[in-house]
């Protein structure tokens, strides 16, 4: 009972932080704009330039950061619970790089020009394919090391293909966009990107709705869970598909942003009593919060040209990853 109260408090705290950070995000840009005037122009639908900056640049960027970050955080929590592996996350088991590959194929070779949703569909298909490959390579009861190694191989392969395809793409600008797909960026996203992101994201979120209990059962081990009525085969497919939907959609718009899916569930797990069902919503919120914060940092850093947001998340995430490995090493010895 006590931890349930803690969870609602946690959600409340995360919600307030998100509201505050979102407001900060609307106030942050390369140019200072008068907020009151901007709001006035936005709500009156007038042609004012401040309203334009607020509603067409900063608002979509804020929303995309929150949604994409939430998907990455949730994807990490789902994968870690499903595979009962603390290092499973969209970035490490191939979903994100597979999604980038799928998105690159559809975008630069004309499919996305034919219909808008081709781009996220490409991302989703790529994410699913890469995840399944890793899963099949590593085997069902893979140890941490095997899974990570399979992930490394698939990641390297997918990113090499991204790089190769961008070199072969007909657009003269494609080569310069390699960094964007590998590190991720939210620069210049518009409401068009929001519409690209939304359908797959909502579908994926709906698919994991009320799956928390089943994941809780899974913590007792697969056999026990199965004896308690969990259809493991269906569960795996359902969650793989859901993660592909949300991560594929997010990466199609932002590129592969690293470490959010790994770090966020780990940070929050001790706060929710190590219960997967209680981890999902906070992880989504935490992911959104982390990506939005990183994106604000990116906008504030004085640099020639904007720094990719994945640089910031990796700067936070990579040391955390190392710490995690050291922690495990100590546990094992």
């Amino acid at each position: 009972m006590i931890s349930a109260i803690t969870q609602s408090r946690l959600i409340l705290a995360l919600g307030l932080s998100i509201a505050f950070t979102a407001l900060l995000s609307l106030l942050t840009g390369s140019q200072a704009i008068p907020l009151l005037q901007a709001l006035h122009q936005s709500f009156n639908g007038g042609p004012g330039i401040y309203g334009l900056i607020l509603t067409e640049l900063r608002l979509p960027r804020t929303l995309v950061a929150l949604l994409a970050g939430a998907s990455l955080g949730l994807g990490g929590a789902l994968m870690q619970s499903l595979l009962r592996n603390p290092l499973a996350s969209p970035g490490l088991i191939g979903s994100a790089s597979g999604a980038a590959l799928g998105a690159v194929i559809t975008l630069y070779f004309g499919l996305a020009g034919m219909f808008t949703l081709a781009l996220p569909i490409g991302g989703i298909a790529g994410a699913l394919l890469a995840t399944l490959t890793v899963y099949l390579l590593a085997g069902r009861d893979a140890g941490i090391l095997t899974l990570i190694l399979a992930g490394v191989a698939v990641n390297a392969f997918a990113l090499a293909l991204v790089s190769l395809l961008l070199n072969l793409a007909p657009s003269p600008y494609a080569v310069q966009e390699i960094a964007l797909w590998m590190l991720g960026s939210l620069a210049n996203v518009s409401r068009n990107e929001l519409w690209i992101l939304l359908p797959g994201t909502l579908a994926g979120w709906l698919m994991v709705w009320r799956q928390g209990r089943t994941l809780d059962l899974l913590t007792f081990g697969e056999e026990t869970a199965a004896s308690m009525g969990v259809d493991l085969h269906r569960l795996r497919w359902r969650l793989f598909l859901a993660v592909a939907l949300i991560v594929g959609s997010a990466v199609s718009v932002t590129g592969a942003i690293g470490f959010i899916g790994l770090v966020v569930p780990h940070l929050l797990r001790p706060l929710v009593g190590h219960q997967p069902s209680r981890l999902l919503i906070p992880s989504a919120m935490g992911g959104g919060l982390l990506l939005l914060t990183a994106d604000i940092v990116v906008r504030l850093l004085p640099a020639q040209g904007e720094i990719k947001v994945g640089v910031v998340t990796s700067l936070i995430g990579a040391p955390f990853f190392l710490w995690l490995i050291l922690q495990r090493k100590r546990d094992m010895s």
Binding site: G29, S30, Q31, I33, P47, I49, L52, I53, E56, L57, L107, Y108, G110, A112, G113, A169, P170, S171, P172, Y173, A174, Q176, E177, L180, N188, S190, R191, N192, G305, E306
Partner: protein, 277 residues
Amino acid sequence: MQAKAIALLLILLTAPAAAAGPPQRVVSVNLCTDQLLLMLADPRQVASVSYLSRERQSSFVAEQAAGYPLNHARTEEVIGHRPDLVLAAPYTNPRLLATLEKLGFVIEKLPLGYTLEGIIKDIRRLAARLGQTQRGEVLIEQMHHRLQHNDAPTGLLSPKALFYQPRGYTSGANTLQNEALRLAGWRNPAAEQGVEGYVAVDLEQVILWQPDTLFTSTYKDRSISLAERQLEHPALKRLLAGIPMLEIPYKYWICPGPMLVEAVALLRKAREERDAR
């Protein structure tokens, strides 16, 4: 060792030619010098032009260039043409030029101006170097004539225009695009705000400059990339109130030359259409 010997042999072969009269075997390694060369030289003086001179979107003299051997600004190719004059731009690969210089080839680096005066200076300088002073003056005269032919409406309340390219690049002061905009009676807010050269600017900045119109140029056929998608950002569409961006052929203003007046003519037409609205 063998390469050195061949190089030496080449120097011996070419050195006498360089000494007397106007050059007879000119090799240009840069799109901008290609174009001025083809406009000014006698066809028999041209030994080779760069491969870019045949690109129809970038080169104003693409058809004319079709008859000449091409080079890719590689040392061996250039030497192979046994030039008595090599034409280069200020930003031509310094390693290539250093090697050529060491081997005793004569190099002319054109400054490539970004104003009308600069263009005229470039033309005069190259024309003199080629022994074609008369052709140079004719070219300059034609340019002046076309510019005065359709006079620019100017004033403090001139409308604002930006040159806006994929990835958000724009041209500030000291660029041909800025000069063309000025000659056509547009104000360039980027140059007025101290932007210099060809640089990327932030979308928020572009909106705050409130340009009345945006001009753009493609140097390849339109393709799909995130860079090009940026030109279709809904914020830009709303800023321009649905008026589409105007495409100016790249070949008119990527290099200094008389073709700049073609860009000016299009920009003036756009200006008149805007005033009529």
